[in-house]
């Protein structure tokens, strides 16, 4: 019943691999053409690595599904050229309101700090990012995206992985060096390998009602606890593009799923919520329950790599599902591409599991806590929950306890083996410590730069960058470092520095956010996370930190 979006249909196309004997070999095969799989293909293509992507369907997501995309996700998508399409189509919001019974008890403002290219969050139906990614893939002949191609088996044979595929023209097999399993939360491939994603199952059932209405509600996130129009449950209202609104109704543990898929059953509930005089139409109805779970280990037999929901799954509260998935994908791809190009040992991949286990655990912890607040498990916890909500209206101290979802923030890999700790003598602030994701700021490129966009984050990523405050340049050290593969020196200065990409700190915010002093330098990973930083550049220290970030020091 979706009327504002027509799913594109991507036809099955014959591949020479279907009749290849012996089976065709590829470096990387990706199972699943959702946001995670499609992104992985693009990021690998940017690193010059061809892929085959297999999706059992012939289109993008049916229905809106993932809705809320974070600033960090937009920055990740910027690296593959899809961030602007997201922002152009998406709805930007920053104000959230929390209601208890019939009263507003609290509101929060995500108050965007000035001087960042991307907003804190946008809302956009999942089929749009998938379509943007598919369209972008057309620009990369090294990506072979095959629709209507269901992977039936993945099997490690020696140093290779054999992938079996079912298509309308019959079955075939291929081999690859690495397979990325991005086939979603229920991952048939994971289950077929006898692997499991374990954690907490939540009994509550939820209903998503996407509706179209002409009424002009503000672009805000409204969350109700125990509202008069839906007693005892919670309700979330959020705006989407195309005049569409997402309403998320908690239905309780014993709801009849079949009944709540019937528009005639849902209509009175929505009408009671909006008021009698508001006209609306249904766009999409979906009943779901969820789990918070993860695999113990995201890498199976060294060459079968699980990424996205197949590896870790969270409740929707906090927008940590798709956002967490793309952070995992980004973390994996820069490592995998360097292993494939023999610039790093295969053991670097283990840090994908380590760093993203931290991310998955943070996301699961936060989303489980939010779920427990939203759906109290017994009378006493409900009493405390309701008391918090009552107090919050009058007592500011109670407001931090109100939890309708702690919104996704990027992971800081401070304890990662890839991060080089600060020297005590350098006296850096905690902000942007090694492992942090870099902060954006306006810049002006004074010569040929990585990207024409006047933003710092657009200048970082894809390769290691040594970002240096140009007020005191260690010329000899830099001359040595300039020869290093996969490392670019970028200087922050008001005048062009011969031989180096130079960025002008046009608003002074790079200096402020990175606590720059003359000579301060940051070594930044290809995923825009800080690997190390110093007050003064010494070539041997930079090289050691680079080796460490590539996994060469500790293996």
């Amino acid at each position: 019943m979706v009327s504002t979006y027509v799913n594109p249909v991507y036809a099955f196309q014959h591949s020479a691999d279907q009749i290849a004997n012996p089976p065709a070999h590829h470096r990387v095969i990706i199972v699943g053409g959702g946001p995670t799989g499609l992104y992985c293909a693009l990021d690998l293509a940017k690193q010059g690595i061809p892929t085959v992507v297999l999706d059992e369907d012939t289109t993008v997501s049916y229905g809106s599904r993932a809705l809320c995309f974070s600033k960090r996700t937009l920055e990740i998508l910027d690296r593959v050229g899809c961030g602007q399409s997201m922002v152009n189509k998406g709805v930007t919001w920053q104000l959230g309101k929390v209601f208890f019974h019939e009263r507003q008890v609290y509101e929060f403002n995500l108050l965007p700090e000035p001087g960042h290219q991307r907003p804190a969050f946008i809302n956009i139906q999942q089929y749009y990012p998938e379509e943007f990614l598919v369209n972008r893939i057309q620009d990369f002949p090294e990506i072979d995206l095959r629709w209507h191609s269901k992977v039936t088996q993945v099997k490690k044979i020696g140093d290779l992985v054999e992938v079996s595929v079912n298509t309308p023209e019959g079955d075939y097999r291929m081999t690859c060096d690495y397979v990325l399993v991005a086939d979603g939360a229920n991952s048939p491939i994971r289950e077929s390998l006898g692997l499991h994603s374990t954690g907490q199952i939540f009994n509550d059932t939820f209903l998503i009602a996407d509706i179209l209405m002409k009424a002009d509600f503000p672009t805000e996130r409204w969350f109700w606890f125990d509202p008069p129009f839906h007693p005892g449950q919670s309700v979330l209202l959020h705006k989407q593009p195309d005049g569409c609104w997402r309403i998320d109704f908690q239905l309780g543990p014993n709801a009849d799923r079949q009944v709540w898929r019937d528009p005639d059953k849902v209509r009175p509930l929505v009408q009671a919520m909006l008021g009698d005089d508001i006209e609306f139409e249904f766009e999409w109805l979906s009943v779901y329950s969820f789990r918070c779970r993860r695999m113990d280990y995201f890498i199976h037999e060294d060459r079968i790599l699980f990424v996205g929901d197949s590896a870790h799954q969270v409740s929707p509260f906090g927008a940590r599902g798709a956002n967490g998935a793309l952070q995992s994908a980004e973390n994996l791809i820069w490592k995998l591409s360097r292993v494939l190009k023999q610039q790093a040992p295969a053991a670097l991949l283990k840090t994908y599991d380590q760093e993203r286990s931290q991310g998955a655990d943070e996301n699961i912890l936060n989303s489980t806590r939010a779920t427990d607040f939203i759906t109290p498990k017994n009378r006493v916890t409900r009493l405390f929950r309701d008391t918090v909500l009552e107090l919050a209206e009058q007592q500011p101290f109670a407001r931090p306890l109100v939890n309708s979802g702690r919104l996704s923030v990027p992971c800081t890999y401070e304890k990662s083996v890839l991060s080089t700790p600060d020297l005590v003598a350098d006296q850096f602030p905690k902000m942007l410590c090694p492992g942090s994701s870099c902060k954006d700021a306006p810049v002006q490129a004074l010569n040929a730069a990585h990207n024409a966009e006047p933003w710092l984050l657009q200048q970082l990523g894809d390769r290691f960058v040594l970002l240096i405050d140009g007020r005191a340049l260690a010329t000899e050290a830099l001359a040595a470092l300039k020869q290093v593969q996969d490392l670019e020196i970028v200087v922050i200065a008001d005048q062009i520095q011969a031989n180096y990409t130079t960025l002008k700190d046009s608003a002074g915010l790079v200096t402020e956010r990175y606590d720059l002093q003359p000579g301060t330098a940051y070594l930044i990973r290809p995923d825009q996370h800080v690997a190390a930083r110093w007050r003064q550049v010494q070539a041997d220290k930079v090289l050691a930190a680079l080796q460490r970030a590539l996994g060469k020091e500790w293996v």
């Binding site: 009493l383 405390f384 008391t387 101290f397 109670a398 306890l401």
Partner: protein
């Protein structure tokens, strides 16, 4: 970081207990439960320090009476 004070610390122990009893004198148990919940949240915020709160919760959960 300070630790949980388990030494007697009331400025007037008898007066405190009397006030606590007064708070619940009406005998409506549902109302009393709500008052207690508010009281716990207000006092917990005043303490603030997570380690102290956890220590207090640990001790509170050590039920030693025979009827439970």
């Amino acid at each position: 970081m300070s630790s949980l004070n388990l030494q007697a610390n009331f400025s007037d122990a008898d007066a405190f207990f009397a006030a606590l009893a007064d708070l619940h004198r009406e005998g409506d148990e549902r109302k009393s439960e709500r008052i207690n919940a508010r009281l716990i949240l207000i006092l917990a915020n005043h303490i603030g320090e997570q380690a102290i709160l956890l220590e207090a919760m640990r001790i509170a959960a050590q039920v030693t009476t025979t009827d439970e």
